[in-house]
Symmetry: C2
Subunit: 428 residues, 2 copies
Amino acid sequence: MQPVKVALLGLGTVGRGVYRILTGNAANIAQRVGAPVEISRILVRDLTRDRGIQLDPSLLTDSYQDIIDDPEINVIVEVMGGIHPALDYVMDALKRGKSVVTANKDMIALHGKELFAAAGASGAGFFFEGSVAGGIPIIRPLKQCLAANRIQEIMGIINGTTNYMLSKMTLEGMDFDQVLREAQARGYAEADPTSDVEGLDAARKLAILASIAFNSRITLNDVYVEGISKITARDIAYARELNYVIKLLAIAKETPEGVEVRVHPTMIPQYHPLASVNDVFNAIFIRGDAVGDVMFYGRGAGELPTGSAVVADIMDAARHIVHRVPAFMGCTCYEEKPVKPVALAESKYYIRLTVSDRPGVLASIAYAFGDKEVSLASVIQKHTDGDRAEIVMVTHRVREQNLQDALRLVECLSSVDRIDCCIRVEGE
Amino acid sequence: MQPVKVALLGLGTVGRGVYRILTGNAANIAQRVGAPVEISRILVRDLTRDRGIQLDPSLLTDSYQDIIDDPEINVIVEVMGGIHPALDYVMDALKRGKSVVTANKDMIALHGKELFAAAGASGAGFFFEGSVAGGIPIIRPLKQCLAANRIQEIMGIINGTTNYMLSKMTLEGMDFDQVLREAQARGYAEADPTSDVEGLDAARKLAILASIAFNSRITLNDVYVEGISKITARDIAYARELNYVIKLLAIAKETPEGVEVRVHPTMIPQYHPLASVNDVFNAIFIRGDAVGDVMFYGRGAGELPTGSAVVADIMDAARHIVHRVPAFMGCTCYEEKPVKPVALAESKYYIRLTVSDRPGVLASIAYAFGDKEVSLASVIQKHTDGDRAEIVMVTHRVREQNLQDALRLVECLSSVDRIDCCIRVEGE
């Protein structure tokens, strides 16, 4: 059989993983595809840099034109990341009918619609399993294996950096700054950790998952986002006392008022399957009307895990080429569902307050909550230093708007120093 | 678009689930497939029996010939179970080039080779996601999403009945007979529970998974099988003391001496992701050379969960028909790997013995083990009734053959009353 020729755009962490897998597992891959899969060009910015892998230097090029004009190259693998020039290259390739494989969540979460439209118009295959949760199969399972279901809910741990940090805080009692430094030293967090720590990375992935699950285009801008930087060792200890674990969850639900999409620190019961997903592992919990609850677990990032997903996509694209069959799993956003404002979302809430330690304080707080129809499920009051006390409350299910209104009232009470923390409680 | 016409063979639990999903989610399914999917005939033995669902009685037929001779029916969905006549019907359909969807693990585990050959010869699609682990996506993820990997190991909880029973024994301290009666009362175990309890059901599913994972045909007869009927509340209590949990695991490994395939009660560490899979839930843990560890979790049986997998397959078959594209994911058993005899398999072992409570007994036992090169990792000795004692040991990793030889020596010691239990320890 004629080999299927592939070009890599980029040779960073994921690119190296793809190269290693395609060369290291070549014989099996050829058998499973029906033809050898060959990397014939690799686009890099700097032709001379040492990349820590052995490769034939003649594969490297710094000219995208060289690649796109080569009629023998049928699959373009974009693993450079970022929006520009990745988007321009990918759009160009799709318009020319070349299959594209990408792991670029930023690009899909913002420009998914135009990418699918370009692929649909030319009949090119467009594959992006590696864009969410690294090596964990999730895009194809959602699109195919669970296609018989109306998906009701997705809850996922889809950012490894923050899960590593929260796991360390939970299991070893470390505080936020300390664990962030450790994560940076280990290469799990970047020098500027904002995108991970503030939840943006998870929000991009959630936009992609929710679009597929609910058949309606969700973009990054639709997702309500809160990061973990305000989580303290103190809240983690209280969570344990209440039999919860704190995770940064990406949550998407279909509701009568529209699609809820939010990323925020969340307390979940210790018995929940996501509660024991620790370290850099990711897991995605899905509820379908037929299948019930399913969960997918594995490594959400890294050279070889993400490479595993990208190469699986390359193999799928190659199979279509070998069998001369057009790609027919295109865009699945055949509906336009409204996005539900977060103010209308319902949740239980954990709230921690610092107050004056004197009689009547709790009553005034409870009165303020009651005034906004927020009912309390449990209250713990602890004396702290001097004349201060700490109150920890968990509410019953309530609308976000009511909770925020109540918190504004509580904040104004003279006996309340400050609202230290407010974390949603889910999964019960 | 012209509807894709489907016939169901059988209307038992899974058949009803398929009917409910195809009719209940019809609009979404039509959108996702690109054409409506219509059940046009249902084969049943008794046309008059009440099946607890509302359906047009003219759909029912007791003649397979009616179905197979209908040129408009393109997808045959076999959900009758058993080998005959299911195998004859399915072979006939495949030979005629009709796509077949089946959830029949018994048939595939025994006759997979000839089924794939028939499908390959005619170009018919052959789909069987529902045959393993109910609604959990596993066949397609193994064949496609993890295709870039050399799979090294599979460890799965793939029988819901035994997992329910072991969970109850672990969490509520019930004994085997008591929990079996409860499982039967709840409909989780059949009147004759042999196939579940003795591990045969799990062995069939493991044969299917291992064939895909290692690209070499494994049949039911290749799988070493031990059931859970000898597991006592006592062993479960000792497992807890040793920080283990007992699960009925289906294990497949690729080793230099061949493929290991075995189903048996297994102690795994409490921190292992499979340890917290309780009740009727299933989970499959897979280790690939690129992806690392991944796990798939969900409901392994039931009308709607298994229906979810079967309908996903029907939708895949229908997409191929709509796009006029032949099925091209055929048999992946392109190698012939030997099956490793269980005598050569390596494991740690938990062993419980009843012995005379007098000095020197432990020394004689330890000597017998040492003689067969079995080294002991830990030993607990407890006084029981009268002059008897109980010894619980965990070995280091050792070949099964050596362990069995050692047990034969130990059995002959005059101070040893009996070997009460021997359970493999894995996953550390």
